[in-house]
Subunit: 183 residues, 4 copies
DNA sequence: ACAATCGGGACTGCCCGTTAGT
DNA sequence: ACTAACGGGCAGTCCCGATTGT
């Protein structure tokens, strides 16, 4: 079933809409239109709007798991990976999750399941950071700095200029491995 | 005129609704109901939903200006103040602004004016941090850590546990004034 | 597949409402109610009020095209047809168009498309008159007299009494074919 | 009372709004704003929207009475005057009255009083035409031609081109006084 | 599996008029 | 006399999902 990868197309359409035009533009019609599916077809795959969003987080979580980190890569690697993925434009999974959360907050009703999935995603990331970086304070700092970058992405604020960001990153790396070692 | 401080009551109602139930709960009726004003009365003060939100950022900005910082208080003071105000529940101005931005993102159309105001608020904060903290890298780090705390507030994620947060804060303070000096 | 000719039913309802109670009575609910459709169903066929009105002019134009005139019928025929259709109650297409225009004028915003359609309808009529009636001055007079009748219909003024109208019509016919001939 | 001719200013504002932006733009606020009066002030002079419009027809009727015709001026004079005033832009009284009627039709409820006043205005005109022009058929034709011009004005249709209009006018004048006499 | 059609409900904006103040 | 604050109500839009049919 799913003759032409429609399910994926729908999820792609949703994601694109989300990052390009924000949560407000996400309605069954718009998603269906962009995915080149009929409205009814969309409802066939996802029984409701919530299911649609849930599908997206699920996919994002899976991708993140795969992408994020070769475990055992060392402190320097996870720091760089995490900060990079947090500050890149919204095609990445983490910013996407944040946008999703904003979407959820914007709608009434409880969305515990999705909220839980998102929390889980962040939990995984946090855990990984702590595992690779010995010092918990440093790990916590990295996590928060990364989250800060996500926030600026999310709300469209002017973030720190690249040079400053590089400086911050370097200072964190130095604390992870003062002598340039791999962690 | 303005028989009973209604304008303020309206803004209070909006803010409460925003922090308690999220953007989705903010509609003219709910705000009016909570403020004990009629819908028409609300419209007398704020011609549109956007004007309503704009009124709130304006007030928040003004309060923040007043609250934030005795200028010249030194690096340690601004760091503590900023991180504290970022991690407290959403009654504070900064988290409120973030919620506002999330609200705006959820609605279609451009809201440049409000977005600009919010950006200005953050600009003020950033400037203050850099002014009081000599080291720009440290200032940038503080800013991002604070933003990270805001994010967890905003999306309802579990933040770092208090002990860890205290550790992070202390490490930043130490870098500001290694010997415990006032900065 | 339009289960029960609903589209037509909606247009009928709109037209009836328009001629019976005037533009002020035309709202989504009233139209939907009279057409025995739900409001949502109405919106499925016509995305906006403007689209609704546009649909009506379109239909009216098509009908007019069909009704108006066996081309080549001669001057007497078109004169009689035109003046008759202009002075009959508002079930006919021309008065309907005028009511529509009044409706449009009453709402803010530009409605260029519809206005254009209406202008086109009148253009067709004018052209036909000139084609069948050799004398341009006479054709112009007929057109204006007919429009005058439309106006009295449209604004509900007391028109000329039937005898006078008959006299006017006869005098125009006489000028078209003084000897009673061309029909 | 009426310190600064406010009543007149309000009526002027209403008229301007009506001819410039159509009935849809006429609301208490807009009228008050353009007249540089407060909303309350407007309501002080005119208890309701209907009263406002009634005030305008009253004024227009009075002006028309004064403008229209030196009685006893003869057939040619009234014909020319009437057709001219009907085809001029909407600053004149007759087109204004039509716009008013359209406005009334666009609102729900009965407006018998105003409708009656407007009918009376047209009655006066008709009477005058018949009095000055001996031939009732000709008078009726003139009345209808004039009304036709009003209609094109009112609905924004392209009217007859000036040359044709001149031809029509001339032909009517000729019938009033074939030998060029003053009628 | 997929698509068209339909229905109920809700949000935003705003009009019009009253009532309280200056 | 004149102004401003305020109230109730509704129009217009459209979203989301269920129900049909193919």
């Amino acid at each position: 079933v799913d003759a032409g990868g429609k399910r994926e197309r729908i999820l792609d359409a949703l994601q694109d809409l989300l990052v390009e035009q924000g949560p407000g533009a996400v309605t069954p019609d718009t998603v269906a239109a962009r995915a080149q599916v009929s409205e009814g077809g969309l409802l066939h795959y996802f029984r409701s709007k919530e299911a649609l969003l849930a599908g997206l987080v699920e996919r994002a979580a899976a991708r993140l798991e795969a992408d994020l980190a070769p475990p055992g890569a060392g402190a320097r690697a996870v720091i760089e990976t995490y900060l990079a993925s947090s500050s890149t434009p919204a095609e990445e999974e983490l910013p996407l999750c944040c946008t999703l959360v904003a979407t959820l907050r914007g709608s009434t009703g409880a969305h515990d399941e999705i909220a839980g999935s998102v929390a889980a995603v962040f939990g995984v990331v946090t855990e990984r950071l702590h595992a690779e970086i010995g010092d918990p304070v440093l790990a916590g700092t990295v996590r928060l700095v990364g989250d800060g970058l996500l926030l600026t992405e999310l709300v469209g604020l002017p973030g720190p200029d690249p040079a400053l960001l590089a400086g911050v990153t370097r200072s964190l790396l130095d604390r992870a491995a003062p002598h340039g070692g791999a962690g």
